[in-house]
């Protein structure tokens, strides 16, 4: 029995020694690194415009931003919407230039004469 106790104590002692030896290496294995990500800007929320009470009697612009070979989509859109909602004035307009270009003149026209806008399309 005494021999057993001795062996047990020795075993516990060895185990503790082993853990004490290994533990620092386990800690050393952890490293800290720097974050590679850049800084994103703050975002200002843009509230959406009030919605229309109805489409009837309104003028809605359909703006083709001029992605290549997609004009037929908007020609068809104007036809379909006119068929389905004949009380609304659906005005089809091409944005000037390519799909990169701005068109402040068109936006000014819409601001003055339009009640809403449908805009597209890429690809």
């Amino acid at each position: 029995m005494n021999k057993l106790k001795t062996w047990l104590l020795l075993g516990v002692f060895l185990l503790i020694s082993l853990l004490a030896t290994v533990a620092p290496y386990a800690e050393e294995a952890k490293i800290t690194v720097l974050n590679p990500i850049g800084y994103s800007p703050p975002i200002r929320r843009v509230p959406m415009a009030p919605r229309l009470d109805a489409l009837s009697g309104k003028t809605i612009y359909i703006v083709d931003v001029k992605f290549p070979l997609s004009d037929q989509f908007f020609v068809e859109m104007q036809k379909v919407l006119t068929e389905k909602f004949p009380q609304t004035n659906w005005v089809l307009r091409d944005k000037k230039g390519t799909y990169f270009d701005d068109d402040p003149g068109l936006w000014a026209e819409i601001k003055e004469k339009g009640n809403g806008v449908i805009m597209g399309i890429g690809h």
């Binding site: 294995a29 850049g38 229309l52 037929q72």
Partner: protein, 451 residues
């Protein structure tokens, strides 16, 4: 338009759902209402377009026409009426402490790498990299965005150093990497067309840091070439807000050149007399170290085996591209805007100078511009107004219409005169090969400024 007080319905094809919602959030409209239709619309006949319009939104399942009406008329929710700011917290400076394998996993999972193993950017390694420049770590270098509609991210010298460490670069390469970063040009442009980039280094820095301009210069054989080019990609992902497929990167197939961005040094020592190196062509002085960036899509290899004059073969190569940069004429009303960059082995440059008589790079470029013609089918496809004139009997178009199939229309309309053909000398003289790419020049930056 919403800011102008007009309710707006953006109509988008369905493959761009992630992209448009990301952009809307970053533009301050996280609740923007969209209507989606099947992709693509471009080139579809009117009957298909009508089907799309009378059908369902592939994302929501709702009828498209019903959604258009709802976007215009359904009253705003409280969320949609909100004003104020969304200030995004700065990313934490440190990551960890953790075991290296866990950090590798973290970097990969977060999309901070190019998929290949990286060098973990410990504080010690980054401090070592920062010794490669006299600029302070917190100095702002530039801002970069993946393309025009996206937001720009800012980054400091330290942030560039972190990504340079990750790429495996050495501190002595750091001024070149900083110079590239200072241009704000991304190597991972958003476009669906899968852009490629090229970085060409000139000046004494090439030898100082052991760059390769000889045998295998465009291949995986040189540490500086490899890691500088790679750093540009990591910078574009992590500091330029780019490289997230579906949101900030839409390249349908991607471009393998993005791994290293064709980074090499020009073989200035083997330039024929009278042929200037790239940096002098761009206005820098002899003795300056400069990096120049180019943008395109593809590269074609060609063996300069006689009896063909090399410049005649180059004309044929130029006509072989059908990418967004050249060979396309799908932009109605927009003139052709072809671009060409030639990477010539010194043997090819020597032949062009001594046997073909091109005294300068510019002479060769001008000759190619004046003598590269479109084939008849391509000409009429790109010039519908000229075709109409031809059919009405207007000369010289009417005569051109009588040319046999396969003939070339004898008028130089291929290249954009605003974009010179770029010619760069690189290679080890083992064979008279050259590579042609549909690349155009974007920007140059002084490396010396960043030492």
């Amino acid at each position: 338009m919403e800011k102008l007080g007009k309710p707006t319905v953006p109509v988008i094809t369905n493959v761009f759902e992630d992209l448009v919602k990301t952009i809307a959030f970053k533009k301050g409209m996280p609740d923007q209402r969209f209507v989606f239709v099947p992709h693509p619309v471009s080139g579809k006949p009117a009957s298909t377009c009508r089907e799309y319009l009378e059908g369902k939104d592939p994302i929501t399942g709702k009828p498209v026409l019903q959604e258009i009406v709802e976007v215009l008329t359904k009253p705003l929710t409280e969320e949609e009426k909100k004003t104020g700011f969304i200030e995004r917290p700065k990313p934490p400076r440190l990551a960890g402490p953790d075991a290296p394998e866990n950090l590798h996993r973290l970097f990969l999972k977060n999309g901070w790498t190019d998929g290949l193993p990286i060098v973990l950017p410990t504080e010690e390694k980054v401090a070592e990299m920062l010794k490669g420049t006299s600029h302070k770590p917190d100095e702002m270098v530039a801002q970069m965005r993946p393309s025009a509609p996206h937001e720009a991210w800012e980054y400091t010298v330290e942030k560039v150093a972190i990504n340079a460490v990750m790429a495996g670069a050495k501190p002595e390469y750091f001024p070149v990497i900083l110079a590239i970063a200072s241009t704000g040009v991304t190597s991972l442009f958003t476009s669906t067309t899968s852009f490629a980039r090229m970085a060409v280094v000139n000046g004494p820095i090439r030898d100082q840091i052991g760059m390769n301009s000889g045998i295998g210069a465009l291949g995986p054989f040189n540490h500086a070439n490899a890691t500088i080019g790679r750093a540009w990609t990591l910078i574009s992902r992590n500091l330029g807000g780019g490289g997230t497929p579906g949101q900030t990167y839409l390249g349908s197939q991607g471009n393998n050149l993005n791994y290293n961005n064709l980074c090499f040094a020009e073989k200035e020592e083997e330039l024929p007399e009278g042929w200037k190196p790239v940096h002098l062509q761009k206005g820098f002085k002899p003795g300056e170290s400069v990096v120049s960036l180019f943008s395109g899509w593809s590269i074609i290899d060609n063996g300069g085996f006689k009896p063909y004059p090399f410049q005649e073969v180059m004309k044929r190569q130029a006509l072989g591209f059908f990418t967004s940069g050249t060979g396309n004429c799908f932009k109605n009303g927009v003139p052709d805007s072809a671009a060409l960059t030639l990477l010539l082995d010194p043997l090819v440059a020597k032949d062009l100078k001594e046997n073909q008589g091109f005294k300068t790079k510019e002479e060769l470029g001008q000759w190619l511009m004046k003598n590269t013609f479109k084939s008849t089918w391509e000409y009429w496809a790109c010039r519908p107004d000229d075709l109409k004139k031809a059919q009405e009997g207007v000369e010289p178009f009417a005569s051109w219409l009588k040319l046999p199939p396969g003939a070339l229309v004898p008028v130089p309309v291929f290249f954009d005169s605003e974009k010179p053909i770029e010619i760069i000398i690189v290679g080890g003289r083992t064979n008279p090969f050259w590579q042609a790419g549909d690349f155009n020049y974007i920007a140059s930056a002084s490396v010396d400024k960043w030492k």
